[in-house]
């Protein structure tokens, strides 16, 4: 096998064009390697590529680690970062790797969906930035091309002042989400609710958002209705981690509690 340690993004993109597999923190890729599911012959190592580790206001480089996001990120994204794996995993794992893996349970995704972030990708031919909806295309599938790298995540200039993340799982640490959720609320009442692990990709409960955004001071009945609309708006499955019914219920309860937190 061969590995490239590029000095510049251009070097990295050349290697990518030549068919190299990207390696960032390795916390997803090396599990595949260790169990014989992946055996890359040509690797481009991104861990020490400074250009991808840059964090400039609302542009977060793809090689920024969860550890850093935990400390420096916007509130609900930092809260999500805190729940990723363990200290060992957070020190190595990156936001770019989380996006490329595109697990339905990726804990970084709900925040990005809630604030309508976009994903920047580049190849030797140039770069493009797509909205999150156009990035995630299915279970572990994205619109990233074989010759592209994810270079950054773009957050909007202004983030909602109220935001909260929560995750349900069987343990407090080191757990893949049964459901994870971000709710944000703006001063004008605009509310967003995004969910992981309840569909093939991260999703938003749009009907619930629309209904509650029109309520300047939601009554208990409105909160109840919001919860029900969330339950109807998610599309979970039953698997080894949980059942469809539990996930639907849990998504509603989580979203309502996070909304209450935002309203406090």
């Amino acid at each position: 096998m061969e590995i490239h340690h590029p000095r510049t993004l251009d070097d990295a993109l050349q290697a990518r064009a030549a068919g190299a597999t990207p390696l960032a923190g390795g916390t997803d890729l090396m599990v595949e390697v260790n169990f014989g599911h992946s055996r890359p012959e040509l690797v481009v190592a991104l861990r020490r590529l400074q250009e991808l580790a840059e964090w400039d206001g609302h542009r977060i480089g793809s090689a920024v680690t969860w550890r850093r996001i935990e400390r420096e990120g916007p509130k609900a994204l930092a809260e999500a970062a805190r729940t990723v794996g363990s200290p060992q995993i957070r020190n190595a794992g990156t936001i770019g790797g989380n996006l490329a893996t595109a697990s339905p349970a990726g804990d970084g995704h709900p925040f990005l969906a809630a604030v309508d972030a976009s994903i920047e990708m580049a190849s030797v031919g140039g770069s493009r930035t797509v909205p999150w909806e156009d990035f995630f295309t299915g279970v572990k599938e994205t619109s990233l091309r074989d010759d592209e790298l994810i270079t950054a995540v773009h957050l909007p200039e202004r983030l909602p002042p109220r935001q909260a993340f929560a995750k349900i799982g069987v343990r407090n640490a080191m757990v893949i989400a049964t459901v994870c959720c971000v709710v944000t609320r703006d001063e004008d009442g605009t509310t967003r609710a995004a969910f992981g692990s309840v569909g093939p990709t991260v999703l938003r409960a749009r009907a619930a958002e629309e209904m509650i955004s029109a309520e300047p001071r939601p009554s208990p009945a409105a909160l109840e209705r919001f919860q029900r609309l969330v339950e109807e708006g998610v599309s979970p499955i039953t698997d080894h981690r949980s059942t469809e019914r539990y996930r639907r219920h849990a998504a509603g309860v989580l979203a309502r509690r996070l909304l209450e937190r935002c309203l406090r």
Binding site: M1, T27, M30, V31, S86, P87, Q88, I89, A92, A173
Partner: protein, 153 residues
């Protein structure tokens, strides 16, 4: 291909034929058997090492990506023949049973005290969230580390 890096302060070079993990070459090529491999998927922490100053699972580091890096393993934490303060405290508290998790816990705890000399019990438990022990039930380990909190190590 060959990979060269600094291991516990000394330069080493090892051969890597496949996309192996750093853990594999530490144990099988270099012969340092302190770091353990209980899961090879980042779940157990028995392979914990410091890579360029960060606590990581060496089973999830591609060996070839250690090129030019600084690696510190459990062997690098105790001067020849002596126990490190964390090892000493764990020994005293009876925090070692089968010992399989111990090297990873020693490395994770050393990193914790490096960053935070006076961790609370909650902070100790948080710092060890990535280290699984199937024997002790953790209480003796936490007690051992608590006994070090605030002391010089």
């Amino acid at each position: 291909m060959m990979v060269s890096f600094t291991l516990n302060g000394s330069a080493v070079t090892a051969r890597v034929r496949h996309p192996l993990s750093l853990l594999d070459i530490l144990r099988d090529e270099i012969g340092l058997r302190g770091s353990k491999g209980a899961c090879h998927q980042g779940e157990c922490g028995s392979c914990s090492v410091m890579l360029d100053g960060e606590l990581v699972c060496s089973c999830l580091v591609m060996a070839a990506d250690a090129e030019g890096s600084e690696v510190v393993t459990v062997e690098g934490l105790s001067p020849a023949g002596d126990l490190s303060p964390v090892q000493e405290a764990m020994h005293r508290a009876g925090a070692v049973q089968c010992g399989f998790c111990t090297p990873g816990i020693v490395v994770a705890a050393a990193e914790l005290f490096e960053e935070n000399p006076r961790p609370t019990v909650a902070e100790i438990r948080d710092a060890l969230a990535g280290n699984i022990c199937r024997c002790t039930g953790y209480n003796a380990i936490v007690r051992a580390l608590e006994s070090l909190a605030g002391r010089s190590r």
